[in-house]
């Protein structure tokens, strides 16, 4: 660990066992599909076999006639606006007039068993008028492309466009004068890059249950990254008052952004309303691939220029990102993140949000940034090579730092980008020689925002002086532990004396999603605030007992003190809420804003490429990252290692492989090739700690940065091994044989 200016902590920085650990190693923890309610009906969704088709007629009569079938719903069961339209997330949950991608939900059946529900779904007859699909982002931008949404017009700085189009938005960023700056560059690198649609690949398929009571109270059990957004979105889609919707989050088996939106919840709710019974809905793996939100493919033309001494002075990018079947690609984020690791005075970006006949784009870990990084980090490498500069020294020379204009023009506060580059330069890995034929070493930097948003927690003292922490962010990777540790630190008590609990939407104040690298950061702030509020309340109750004023009582490292009198947190807790005392609860709520600084990482990778087969083997991998303050270093390392390996999968083998009709040919874990234990080495980590000035403990979000650098780091390493630059993902053996030997 590389650390700067870190205060002394007792709990923060230790590695305790997570509170929910026992349930998860014994099989007792209940995930989405494990929820079972008395009298439950089981449902199944019928999905479109066509990527683009008008739905002319849906005949559910045969399905309804099957014994055991209790209800069938279609998009017609969802409320519409006055003009008959529905919002995108409603139309995505159950199709309207058109099926917009293969796998688009068309109808759903509830029956006494899933077996019957599946048979009934097969009996639903749908009459389609099949339309030509548009599957490639640049094809979709052409004037003669099939139009997916007749009403769609391009929003742009010039105002809305006039013609129907698949380009939902044209965004622009412009700092300095890129055109003039390029003219004065001594070296320019440019290229056209593309990435394919990829899936988050969480191992738990989506699963939800719903119970709609006759009084209108709707309860939803679901595996989600955000129970409060599910409540809001379900309320919107169903046209049902938000106060009548309660969401109970189950344990969640991975999300990476993919479990933010609604898919099954309102469908289960409609079926429950029709039948008066609880209804459970779950996806199988092919449903997950075809019917949820992966992240869209991209096409990026990029250009980067430097002076002869290596100073980057001009950048340009034309970025087209797929939104899938609806507007909403990650192009804005990609554009904001692309140049963030560098201090470049002149940058121009054109970005396009483009609809295609593929599943609706969803966030996937640092959404938008990996594709942008794949382009820019290769160009940095090319310039370094052209100018004869070590690629890390090139980065050190150009690193963004405090005061550099960051994404969107705001100057960065204190960041740890330069420290990451320094840590890489002095790492054992970078200083070890790489020998042997067909081998190469690559590096790449990466940036991601810290998203703040809203969080709210309650804390209450128990009679034995322990503290319960009530929170609303589902724990996807150890946040019960990271929040409990921050509360223990705030209160000066042992980690074991804090009991964190994730509760439903009726039982705690509003919390935004567990996403955007925000939970340990933002909910951590709310937890810290709740701890301070609790101490203040304790002082008030203690003051009369000590015959002092509350202001005279000091609290530090778990001890209350006023003059000669002192007491530990537990002693005071016992006096206040002990046998004759009252209960005591405090809360903390924050709105930490949307963009709150950011975090950087740098990865180093050694590869070997088999020249006969084109297969790349990862020999050694080191991930370096500024975590601000690492609350629980093991889980920080875990995020870095997991992100790196997801990135390795994206770089080498993962892709949605579509046929010309828009059918995903590889919708299984057999052919959607995520890395296995045998595909990766141990992932070494170096945690850099440059405390975040906006957080009481200096926390930066750590979850997303580590998926940004791997794509370009591996591309740069493959270049060093083969002499051929890689412009397209995945860099599969097939692709490597094509680019290195012309075998197609």
């Amino acid at each position: 660990m590389v650390t700067t200016d870190k205060p002394h902590y007792n709990v923060i920085g230790t590695r305790p066992v997570r509170p929910d650990g026992i349930d998860k190693v014994t099989g007792r923890a209940l995930y989405g599909a494990d929820i079972s309610l008395p009298g439950t009906l089981h449902a199944h969704v019928k999905r479109s076999p066509h990527a683009h088709a008008i739905i002319k007629k849906i005949d559910t009569s045969k399905a309804e006639a099957l014994p055991g079938v209790k209800a069938v719903v279609t998009g017609a069961d969802l409320p519409t606006a006055e003009d008959g339209s529905r919002a995108d997330n409603s139309t995505n949950v159950l199709a309207g007039k058109k099926a917009l991608y293969r796998g688009h939900a068309i109808a759903a059946v509830a029956a006494t068993s899933e077996h019957i529900a599946r048979q009934a779904a097969d009996l639903i007859e749908v009459e389609y008028e099949v339309l030509p699909p548009v599957l490639d982002v640049r094809d979709a931008m052409r004037d003669d492309a099939p139009i997916i949404h007749e009403a769609l017009r391009t929003t742009s700085p010039k105002g809305p466009g006039e013609k129907p189009t698949n380009v939902a938005a044209h965004i622009q960023f412009n700092f300095g004068d890129a055109e003039t700056a390029f003219a004065s560059c001594d070296a320019v690198a440019e290229g056209q890059f593309s990435t394919k649609m990829v899936h988050q690949g969480y191992i738990e398929p989506h699963a939800s249950a719903a119970m709609w009571n006759p009084d209108g109270q709707l309860t939803i059990w679901t595996s989600t990254q955000g129970s409060f957004p599910v409540r809001k979105d379900s309320s919107d889609v169903l046209g049902h008052p938000i106060s009548k919707v309660k969401v109970i989050p189950t344990e969640i088996g991975g999300g990476f952004g993919g479990k933010i939106p609604l898919y099954l919840e309102p469908v289960a709710a409609l079926l429950s309303r029709k039948t008066g019974r609880p209804v459970k809905l779950r996806m199988d793996r092919s449903d997950v691939f075809e019917g949820t939100g992966p992240t869209g493919g991209t096409s990026i033309k990029a250009k980067l220029g430097a002076t002869k001494d290596g100073k980057l002075i001009a950048g340009y990018a034309d970025m087209a990102y797929e939104g899938g079947a609806f507007p909403g690609s990650s192009v804005m984020l990609g554009a904001l993140a692309m140049f963030a690791p560098y201090d470049i005075a002149n940058v121009k970006i054109d970005g396009y949000d483009v609809v295609v006949n593929k599943p609706k784009n969803q966030d996937y870990r640092a959404p938008g940034a990996p594709a942008a990084s794949f382009a820019i980090e290769q160009l940095v490498d090319e310039l370094a090579e052209k100018l004869g500069i070590d690629p890390l020294k090139m980065r050190r020379m150009n690193s963004s730092h405090e005061g550099t204009r960051g994404p969107g023009g705001m100057p960065f506060r204190r960041i740890g980008n330069e420290e990451c580059v320094e840590a890489a330069l002095s790492s054992a890995h970078y200083n070890a020689p790489l020998e042997g034929a067909n081998r190469g070493r690559g590096v790449a930097s990466g940036f991601w925002f810290n998203v703040g948003l809203r969080s709210s927690v309650n804390v209450s003292i128990q009679p034995d002086g322990t503290v319960n922490l009530i929170e609303g962010n589902t724990d996807i990777g150890g946040t019960r532990a990271s929040l409990a540790m921050q509360l223990a630190e705030t209160l000066g008590i042992a980690y074991e004396d804090v009991k964190p609990m994730v509760v439903d939407t009726d039982s705690v104040g509003y919390n935004d999603v567990t996403a955007g690298s925000r939970t340990t950061y933002s909910t951590g702030m709310a937890t810290h605030q709740a701890g301070l509020n609790l101490v203040a309340e304790m002082k008030k109750l203690l003051a009369p007992k000590w015959q002092v004023t509350a202001e005279e009582i000091e609290f530090q490292y778990g001890t209350f003190r006023a003059g000669e009198q002192s007491g530990s947190f537990k002693d005071v807790a016992n006096q206040i809420v002990g046998p004759n005392g009252a209960g005591l609860t405090a809360s903390g709520s924050v709105n930490a804003g949307i963009i709150v600084g950011g975090a950087f990482g740098l990865h180093i990778v050694d590869v070997e490429v088999d020249p006969d087969t084109g297969k790349t083997t990862i020999l050694r991998y080191t991930a370096i990252q500024d975590a601000g303050t690492a609350i629980h270093p093991s889980y920080v390392e875990g995020q870095m290692q997991g992100g790196a390996v997801q990135g390795i999968g994206w770089a080498l083998n993962e892709e949605y492989y579509f046929d010309e009709t828009g059918r995903m040919a590889n919708s299984s874990f057999l052919d959607y090739r995520m890395p296995t234990t045998l595909d990766v080495p141990m992932i070494d980590t170096i945690i850099v700690e440059v405390p975040n000035p906006t957080h009481p403990f200096g926390v930066r979000g750590v979850g997303e940065v580590p998926i940004v650098p791997p794509l370009a780091a591996i591309a740069n390493a493959i270049y060093r091994a083969t002499g051929v630059r890689q412009r397209q993902l995945p860099m599969s053996p097939r692709r490597i044989l094509e680019t290195t030997r012309g075998i197609e």
Partner: protein
């Protein structure tokens, strides 16, 4: 007088300018001054008495918590389109 940096999205409103000087002690005052110079800004930035959800406004390095946020004479005010993830 604070400097308001105008992103491409809003440049048409400001006659193509990339920055505009505007005065005011609070963010609301600054936006009002911006509106006087370039009508249309207020509606694009404010809704129901609060910063619109689709924009982020930062003063210096920090996101403004609300319209009452103080703005110093030397401050830079940044108008940013809010992060549009795929929701």
């Amino acid at each position: 007088m604070a400097v308001v940096r105008i992103p491409a999205l809003f440049q048409p409103l400001a006659g193509g300018a990339t920055m505009v000087r505007a005065s005011g002690a609070t963010l609301l005052d600054v936006i009002d001054d911006l509106e006087r110079q370039h009508p249309g800004f207020r509606d694009r930035l404010i809704e129901n008495g609060a910063i619109r959800s689709e924009v982020i406004i930062a003063i210096g390095s920090d996101e403004a918590a609300g319209l009452a946020a103080p703005v110093g004479e030397e401050d830079e005010v940044h108008l940013l389109p809010a992060i549009a993830g795929g929701r």
